[in-house]
């Protein structure tokens, strides 16, 4: 994808990154950068001037803690921009295998973290029903969630390989 397309997509979403002056407050504030090698400042630059940002693994090292966004002296919505670039990547078929798996869980169970037998036992031990008051207990509700996911095309998005 052309870098200007990414910059334009961000702008359309109300996420202006062209005012970045590369001061590095974002990188200096990043709890992930300290341990993962993620450099937020470079990520913002790449989104602006080009480079294969969609395949950049730094894109997935952000915990979305929002500290960079809170502190940016230019008021750039950095975290939201990272999320938007992820969206573009996912729609180009780029998704980490673990995230594909979590997506499958939501498609199947309506929960990103579904219940298991040992938790069912713990619930009963606590004096609660083995199944919580969620889609786990109500098949019709799960069917509704699945209808919505299908309506949004998420079933196809989550299985498509890049």
């Amino acid at each position: 994808m052309d870098p200007s397309e990414i910059s334009n997509a961000l702008k359309e979403a109300g996420l202006e990154i062209l005012t970045c002056m590369q001061c590095g407050t974002c990188s200096g504030s990043c709890p992930s950068g300290r341990y993962t090698g993620m450099i937020t400042r470079k990520l913002v630059r790449k989104a602006r001037v080009g480079g294969d940002i969609l395949h950049d693994e730094d894109l997935w090292m952000c915990t979305t803690c929002y500290t960079c966004q809170e502190r940016c002296p230019r008021g750039i919505s950095i975290t939201d921009a990272i999320l938007k670039i992820r969206t573009i990547a996912v729609h180009e078929g780029i998704m980490l295998p673990a995230h594909r798996k979590v997506s499958q869980l939501v498609l199947q169970y309506g929960h990103a973290v579904p219940i298991n037998d040992s938790v069912k036992e713990r619930r009963v031990k606590l004096g609660m029903e083995s199944l919580p008051e969620t889609v786990h207990k109500y098949p019709d509700a799960l069917a509704d969630v699945q209808t919505l996911l299908k309506s949004c095309g998420f079933d196809k998005l989550a299985v498509s390989e890049g």
């Binding site: 709890p31 992930s32 300290r34 341990y35 993962t36 997935w60 090292m61 915990t63 979305t64 803690c65 929002y66 500290t67 966004q69 809170e70 975290t79 939201d80 990272i82 938007k84 992820r86 969206t87 729609h91 998704m95 980490l96 673990a98 995230h99 798996k101 979590v102 997506s103 939501v106 309506g110 929960h111 990103a112 973290v113 579904p114 298991n116 938790v119 713990r122 619930r123 606590l126 919580p132 008051e133 969620t134 889609v135 786990h136 207990k137 109500y138 019709d140 509700a141 799960l142 509704d144 969630v145 209808t147 919505l148 996911l149 309506s151 949004c152 095309g153 998420f154 998005l157 989550a158």
Partner: protein
Amino acid sequence: MKKLSLYLGCITPNRYPGIEKATRLCLERLKIDCSDLPGASCCPAPGVFRSFDKATWLALASRNIVLSEEMGRDLLTICNGCYGSLVDANNELKNDPKLKKSTNAHLEKIGKKFKGTVDVRHIIELLYDEFGPEKIKEAIVRPINLRVALHYGCHLVKPSKERQLGSSENPRFFDELIEAVGAESVDYPDKMACCGAGGGVRSALLDRSLAMLNHKLVRIKEADVDCIVNACPFCHLQFDSGQVEIAEKLGIEYNIPVLHYSQLLGLAFGFSPEELGIDLNLVTNQEFFEKLKAIAEG
């Protein structure tokens, strides 16, 4: 205060049911009118689903909100991630007619409609705004004089322009609720730093996620506390399961107990650690349970 519905999310009911039980006991004790929210799903998780596809994120989030709208109740979350997802989705849909229309086109297929009539609350923000530390202090039956390392968790306070809870750099409201139960909120370096779990990092890049967690645990250990208190089951899972994983992978044993605030409040209301599911954590620190026993026996 408007009537509430209890939104459970995924990790609370499906991994740490003690948090659900503790929350129910506390809500009952405080005579808060809070019903179940039958049929709710994943919020969906903000870091991953929100970034995968906005329409999907809004469709699932709005369905959960609509379930509460249909009951005429505000939706109560006990998880920072669910709070972040549902507050942001609720605000976006209330303020953007175009988004509301496109989301309702999906909801129509299951006979639902987002109207924008309710608010999304977080239990900490609710306790602080509707009760306040003084009233909580009056309601407790037993001061819990523990040294606590408080972890706010990112999405309770950030992005701050969406939250209206004051400073995200040095907030105080949660500390005041800790002090209200007779505990000491011990300061430690990087207290406001992320636990490392969010944004799909824990699920996809566990080693890096644990490195961020370890950064916090080193500092918490140095602060010499009795336990860590959070208000988010995902941070809770990261702190609890993460300590076991760090012990396995890095050979460092911290053995610091982890409590959700509703479990700490439950102790101050006189409930036992077992009733609150505190014994169901992976970290089992015998010394801590003896301390709790001593507090209970006065």
